[in-house]
């Protein structure tokens, strides 16, 4: 049984779900949220590259390239915000980040 596109789509869905669960279930650690975002972007990349392979079109890989670029930039900014927040508040507990609450 050779691998078909569906196998890769299932894998991408699994990774994406794990990323979403990481944001849902996490109540303690903001870094886990950032890592879950990275995992979701990784799942999307798997999707792009799988389609690019099975449709013989390079566009998927080009877009995955840009997704990697933006994900890296966003991780850097997110961590910079986290570090600044930690300097002011000395905590990274999700429950305590609520100063904008209405």
């Amino acid at each position: 049984m050779t691998m078909s596109l569906n196998h890769y789509l299932v894998l991408s869905a699994l990774l994406f779900t794990v990323g979403v669960l990481g944001i849902f279930l996490n109540r303690k650690n903001v870094i886990i949220i950032l890592m879950s975002i990275e995992m979701m972007l990784l799942a999307v990349n798997v999707n792009f590259v799988a389609f690019s392979h099975y449709r013989h079109d390079l566009t998927g890989q080009i877009f995955a390239f840009f997704v990697v670029t933006v994900a890296a930039a966003e991780a850097a900014i997110g961590l910079a915000i986290l570090v600044t927040f930690f300097r002011n508040r000395a905590t990274i507990d999700v429950e305590e980040i609520d100063s904008l609450k209405g």
């Binding site: 794990v18 990481g22 840009f66 890296a72 961590l79």
Partner: protein, 201 residues
């Protein structure tokens, strides 16, 4: 079942399991290391999908930069590690098992390079160079997004520095005063002394 299928199942299973471990282990350093394992397995899957350039980019950018950044921040922030110290000995077998799996995967992916690609359908021109193809498309048809991506990176760079730079005087920290350094005159910098030959200054 072919050998290539086995490689796919191995890589994808370990990727999903490592992803689950990312969100479920207590120690955030372990989470980041499991994230690195996930990235590595997905890079192997990209190699199976004949996207070698993207696999290399994943290794260099995600594992080499983003994961290292995560590790730095996790270690800078003051997380409670007391639970880690107690469980150090009982985690050693798990660490060995994970290391062996990692090693087995490296061997398997290296061996699968001779086993042929997935899908069986060759491209029209035969064996093409993935990097050359991406380069040909990226710098002609997608030049505009490429330049925009570089601008995004520049904005991220400036933003990260602006957010985290601590300017101003703090006790015990030596800092440069750039304006003073740039406005230095020759009289402040150089002093001529008369020295007899054979003697020091």
């Amino acid at each position: 079942m072919e050998f290539v299928d086995l490689v796919f199942y191995l890589l994808s299973t370990v990727a999903v399991m490592a992803a689950v471990m990312v969100i479920s282990v207590r120690n955030p350093v372990h989470s980041v290391l499991f994230l690195v394992l996930t990235f590595f397995n997905v890079a192997g899957l990209f190699v199976l999908l004949e996207a070698e350039f993207l696999a290399a980019i994943l290794v260099m950018v995600y594992m080499g930069a983003v994961a290292v950044l995560f590790l730095f921040v996790v270690m800078m922030l003051d997380v409670d590690f007391s639970r880690l110290r107690q469980g150090m000995v009982q985690h050693l077998p798990l660490g060995l098992a994970v290391g062996l799996i990692f090693l087995a995967e490296l061997v398997v992916v290296g061996a699968s390079a001779k086993a042929g690609a997935i899908g069986g359908q060759a491209t029209a021109a035969g064996a093409v160079n993935n990097v050359a193809e991406i380069g040909r498309v990226l710098y002609s048809r997608y030049l505009y997004p490429f330049e925009l991506a570089s601008l995004i990176l520049l904005v991220a760079l400036v933003g990260a520095v602006v957010l985290t730079l601590r300017d101003g005087k703090r006790p015990g920290v030596k800092q440069q005063d750039i304006a003073m350094q740039l406005s230095r005159t020759r009289d402040q910098a150089v002093q001529l002394k008369k020295v007899k030959s054979g003697e020091g200054a």
